[in-house]
Amino acid sequence: MTELSKTGSAVGEPVAAAGDSAARTSFLDVRDLKVHFPTDDGIVKSVDGLSFALDKGETLCIVGESGSGKSVTSLAIMGLHRLGARGKNVQMHGEIWLDGKELISAPPQDVRRLRGRDMAMIFQDPLSAMHPYYTVGTQIVEAYRVHNDVSRKVARTRAIELLDRVGIPEPAKRVDSYPHEFSGGMRQRAMIAMSLANNPSLLIADEPTTALDVTVQAQILDLIRDLQKEFESAVVLITHDLGVVAEIADQVLVMYGGRCVERGPVDEVFAQPQHPYTWGLLGSMPRIDREQTDRLTPVKGQPPSLINVPSGCAFHPRCPYADVPKDNVTRTQRPELELADGGHWSACHLSTEDRTRIWTEEIAPKL
């Protein structure tokens, strides 16, 4: 765990008045982001009002199950939803501020120039994410030259240098290899090299280790962490693996049904998680120090439909504590994020006392 800016973080700070750029201190500031996909069956609200902020040198982990809006969020920051044939149908609202520039209202050409240069992305499956017909070197050269007016030769030198930096042996030789000639881990390293071509200050990694085996996972995470320190970039890491979170995150954001249900510094969230969904995630995670006889506790039920999101708290149909009496709250009321000590936000109708009691008496002893 790094000691980087645990306190100076702007994660969870209330949204400042819109248009007031002076109040923006964070490098990446996402405000009330909504990404909706109209379909024949209705509007899919993949992300529905998400806010967070991140400074340079910090790592934010976004966790949640499939379909919770993690990947959609990352693609939204990159502006990748609006491209291609389906791009016209995507509805995006809210604000995404990157280094003082608002991206959602910006012209597509401006966002394109930022893509790959100021913000870069590492994808889950490096085999399908790299073009099968071009060598790894060609693809890195392309990433570099689109933002730098240099000759192929210079760019090639840069590519070799990058491959070397991410730990690929014999980079001068491997630069001419095709992606399918690399092993999974090497391929992901090459992918990282490609995303680092222009020293981006924001690096988004969408489940970068999911397609890799465990020993390689750790190496890739180490690499991302080292590179982050070296380049002082902000890292958004999307994962469903809480082990990864514990290893690398400064801040953690738990998503459920397109919304944030809990976020805060990773120590806080792991020490005293506030949301029943987070408890569920922790309970379903295998741990080496856990009693062998204990069974993992899955979160019961299915992820919510993003077209008809359950009214009130989206988690209530699956929440084991939905029936705990709450004061002045109706079922259809949606819980808003509330700030607790230590920059720890959560959105739950349970009273603080109930949550503390349930966590310390029922959940924590089982973990």
Binding site: L80, A85, R112, R117, A129, H180
Partner: protein, 335 residues
Amino acid sequence: MISYIIRRVIAAVILLLVVTAVTFCIFFLLPRLAGQTADQLAQQYIGKSPSAADVAAVKHNLGLDQPVYEQYWHFIKGIVTGADYHFGPTTLHCNAPCFGYSFKNHVAVWPELTQRLPVTASLAIGAAVIWLLSGVTIGVISALRPGSLFDRAFMGVALTGVSMPMFFTGQLALLLFTYQWPIFGRTYVPFTENPAQWANTLIPAWCSLALLYSAIYARLTRSGMLETMNEDFIRTARAKGLHERTVVGRHGLRAALTPIITVFGMDFGLLLGGAVITEKVFSLHGVGEYAVQGITDNDLPKVLGVTLLAAFFVVLFNLLVDLLYAAADPRVRLS
């Protein structure tokens, strides 16, 4: 790589041998099995009410009195060494490669084929250029805006193109642009004589033939592009900040084109074996027309020659496609 090509060539030769054997059997064994005698077969090559001596002579010249396997052996040997045909006192030598001898016109098949091949090739190449350019372009634009007015309009046109037979569009083109408004020439001029005139005469034929194919290629390209543009590597290309036109051209089209190469090789090879209807409609004296002649005249050596030529081109272009495929997609290993 070299050993791969050698192996493929050997396989191609074997395949061609099988094709000739099957064709040969169809033309020379099937009639016998159906009850025709060698005399009856021979009679086809002589005028009305022949004398028994004439029939016997023709039968002997054609080798129809020999067993089929021996006839086949002579045919194959003729391709390599040439063959001699005896007509009474005169002996006709058919130079290697001898693909048979047309007894109706009293000429060897091979020189006829080589003379007609440039016409067919002119037709095929011109049409291929047009249909590839138009088909792929329309397919790409349609795929980038699926469901748009352009997409629907052109896919409608494509459907019409596929549905309309050559003898309709071809005649229509002739009627309108060669006779009603004589924009284009009527008689074929070899490319070597006058390239401008050559193109001028062929344009209606090219366009009519290309209409059929570009419709198919537009649909092929469209579906290929729709699929490719959803691939992860396209998202990566965009994430790098590339211009959309680079994403489409360098990343999308490159991947989508590979399967099209395969289909193209087959289509082009087949066309070189003669575009029968097109040649007939536009009075082009190409290989296809020659085949029609052979069939209507019951002149089996002609049909056999064209069949072999067509088979040769299909096999050749299949081999070329495989080599191209390996060059285009580095994941394909030739072994």
